[in-house]
Symmetry: C2
Subunit: 328 residues, 2 copies
C-alpha cells in the first residue's frame, strides 16, 4: 500500500507515532484492536506506513505461572532499563482476558512505578477472543511500538494454554520465570514450555536461598536433557529477587550477551525472518480454513462427516477428499 493513499487522519497517526507521541500511539493500537472491518483496513494502511521504521527494539518475552511475580519483575526490569536511558513498552498476550475481564496487565496499579514513567508505555492484552486474534494484534502493536522508538518491548504472558508459543514466536528471547520451590511443585512447567525458553529465571530467591539453589540445579538438569534450539546458546538459569531488585542487572547483561551471540551467528535476523514468514502462513492457513468452513456444502456436511470419522465409520482421507471436492 502506498503511503500517499492514507487519509489525513491516518497520516496524522503515522506522523504522531513516528514523533514518539503517546496519544497517537494509543489511538493506533485501538484501531488495530478494533473488530470493525473499515478500522482493520485503515489499521493495515497505517501499519504498512510504519513498518519501515520498525525492527529496532529488543523483543523480550516473559512467561510464568500466576504468583511467580511477573509484574514485580517487569516493573523492576522496566525501571532499571529506564535508568539506563532506554524507553520500554510492555504488552501482553492473554487469550483469557476477554473472559476474565483482563487478568494480566488490566490493572496498571500492578506496575505503579513503571506506569508513571513517561519513558514507559504499558498496554493490557487485547480482548479479541481467540489466541490467534490476540496474538496477531499484539504482534502488530509490537511493530507500532518499535516505530514509536521504544528500545525494549516486553511481551508478557501467563503460563496457561498455548500463549507461550505465540509469545516465543514474536520475540527475540523467551524468558521463563520459575518459583524456588522445585521438585513436585515444578509441575507448573507445562508440556513443551521448557523447550521454548532461551533463559530461565528463578524469582523470589530471597525467600529461601537453599530452595533456590536446589531449583536452579534441577532446572539446569532438565534443560541439559533437552537439545538447545541454537548450537551457540545453552539457556542459562539465573536466580534473582524482583522484589529486592537483586539480579536485574545480571538478567539484562545475559539478554545482551544473547543478542550479541545470536547476531554474530546470524540467528537473530534468521529468527525474525522465520517468525514473519511463519506468521504469514498462519494467517493464510486461517484464511483458507475460514473460507472452507463457510462454503455452503461444507457447512451442511461437516458435522456428520466429522462424527463418522470419530466413530471410525469413514477414513480421514475419504472424509477430507469428500469435503475438499466441494471447492471445485
Amino acid at each position: 500500500m502506498n503511503e500517499t493513499l492514507l487519509e489525513a487522519a491516518d497520516r496524522a497517526l503515522v506522523d504522531g507515532v513516528l514523533a514518539r507521541q503517546l496519544r497517537p500511539l494509543a489511538k493506533t493500537i485501538t484501531l488495530i484492536e478494533s473488530q470493525r472491518e473499515d478500522h482493520q483496513m485503515r489499521a493495515q494502511g497505517v501499519l504498512e506506513a510504519l513498518l519501515p521504521h520498525s525492527g529496532g527494539a529488543m523483543r523480550v518475552g516473559i512467561s510464568g505461572v500466576p504468583g511467580v511475580g511477573k509484574s514485580t519483575f517487569i516493573e523492576a526490569l522496566g525501571l532499571y532499563l529506564i535508568e539506563q536511558g532506554l524507553r520500554v513498552a510492555v504488552l501482553a498476550v492473554d487469550p483469557s482476558s476477554s473472559l476474565s475481564g483482563g487478568s494480566i496487565l488490566g490493572d496498571k496499579t500492578r506496575m505503579e512505578g513503571l506506569s508513571q514513567c513517561p519513558q514507559a508505555f504499558i498496554r493490557p492484552s487485547p480482548s479479541a477472543g481467540s489466541l490467534g486474534g490476540v496474538a496477531e494484534k499484539t504482534r502488530e502493536t509490537l511493530l507500532v511500538c518499535e516505530a514509536a522508538g521504544f528500545d525494549v518491548i516486553i511481551v508478557e504472558t501467563v503460563g496457561v494454554g498455548q500463549s507461550e508459543t505465540a509469545v516465543a514466536n514474536m520475540t527475540d528471547i523467551f524468558c521463563l520465570l520459575q518459583l524456588p520451590n522445585a521438585g513436585d511443585d515444578l509441575q507448573g512447567i507445562k508440556k513443551g514450555i521448557m523447550e521454548l525458553a532461551d533463559l530461565v529465571v528463578v524469582n523470589k530467591a530471597d525467600i529461601d536461598p537453599a530452595a533456590t539453589t536446589r531449583a536452579q540445579a534441577q532446572l539446569k538438569t532438565a534443560l541439559h536433557m533437552l537439545r538447545p534450539a541454537s548450537p551457540n546458546w545453552s539457556p542459562p538459569v539465573l536466580t534473582l529477587s524482583a522484589l529486592k531488585k537483586a539480579g536485574i542487572e545480571d538478567f539484562w547483561r545475559t539478554v545482551c550477551d544473547y543478542r550479541t551471540t545470536m547476531t554474530r551467528s546470524g540467528e537473530f535476523e534468521g529468527r525474525r525472518r522465520h517468525q514473519a514468514l511463519a506468521w504469514m502462513w498462519e494467517l493464510i492457513d486461517a484464511g483458507l480454513r475460514q473460507r472452507f468452513r463457510r462454503h455452503p456444502r461444507v457447512r451442511a456436511e461437516l458435522a456428520a462427516i466429522s462424527t463418522a470419522v470419530e466413530l471410525g465409520e469413514s477414513t480421514p482421507a475419504v472424509a477430507a477428499q469428500r469435503l475438499l471436492q466441494h471447492l471445485n
Copy 2:
C-alpha cells in the same frame, strides 16, 4: 463408498485381508503406497471396506536415536508377544528412507527371528518422500493390519525430525527408548519428544547397571518436571536389556496397565477419536494449501511476497490478504 462398488480384484484383496492372508495384505499395502492416482482411488475403496474391521489392536509407538537398540528391542518384544499367542505387525515411519534407501526396517535381517515367524508381519517405511505422505500411508497400513487381525501393531520411528510426533499421533502409547549413558549424552532427547512419551525405557541396562540407575533417576526427574498428558497416568521409566531379553515381560505388563487405566477413564477411545479427527483436518489443511499454491496468481506472486515479508517490507497480514484475495 459402497463395498458393492469394488472391482473384483479389490474385493479379492478385502476378502484376503479379512481371511488373514499375507499376500493380499502385502498387495493392499502396495496399493496404498502407490503414487498412481487410479491406485490411490482403489486404495481408498479397499480401506473403506476394511475400516469396520479395524480398531482391535494395541497400537504401540517406539522411538529412540540410532544405536539405542530399537530393532533388538522390537524383535525381543515381538517374539515374546508371539509366545503369548498374539500376532504382531511391525511398521515404520522414516521420512528419510527415500533418500537413504531405507534406513530403518529396510533390511529384514535386522529382525531375523521375528521375520521368520508366520505370526509376524514386518513392513519397511514407505518411501513416499515427505513426512506427511509417509505418515499417512503408515496410518492407513495400520488400519489394514488391524483388519487382518493383528493384535499388536508396533510403529517404529527413528529419533530424527518430526516423525515422533507423527507416530505418537497414530498410536495408543508412545514409548521412548534411551541409552544408560545419561547426563551430557542425554542431549539426544530432542525438543518436545520427552513430552510425547507415555513410557520411557532405558535399554542396554546389562552393560552398566550403575549408569542405568543414574539414567533412570535423571529421566524420572525430567519427566516429573513436565506436566503429564493424562491426569491418570504418570509416564514410568523402566530399565531392560533387549539383548538379554530381560525386562520385556515387565514392559508389556506396563503397556497393558496403561491400556486398562486409559480405557477405564475413557481416554483410550478419546485419544483415538481425537487422532482420527486431527488426521482429517491435517489432510484438509494440506489439500487447501495445495490448491492455494497451485493457483496461477499465487504461484506468480508468492516468492516475491514472501521475500518482502522476510525483509520486513510488508506485514504478514497484508501479504496474506493480498494472496488470499486471488481466490475470490
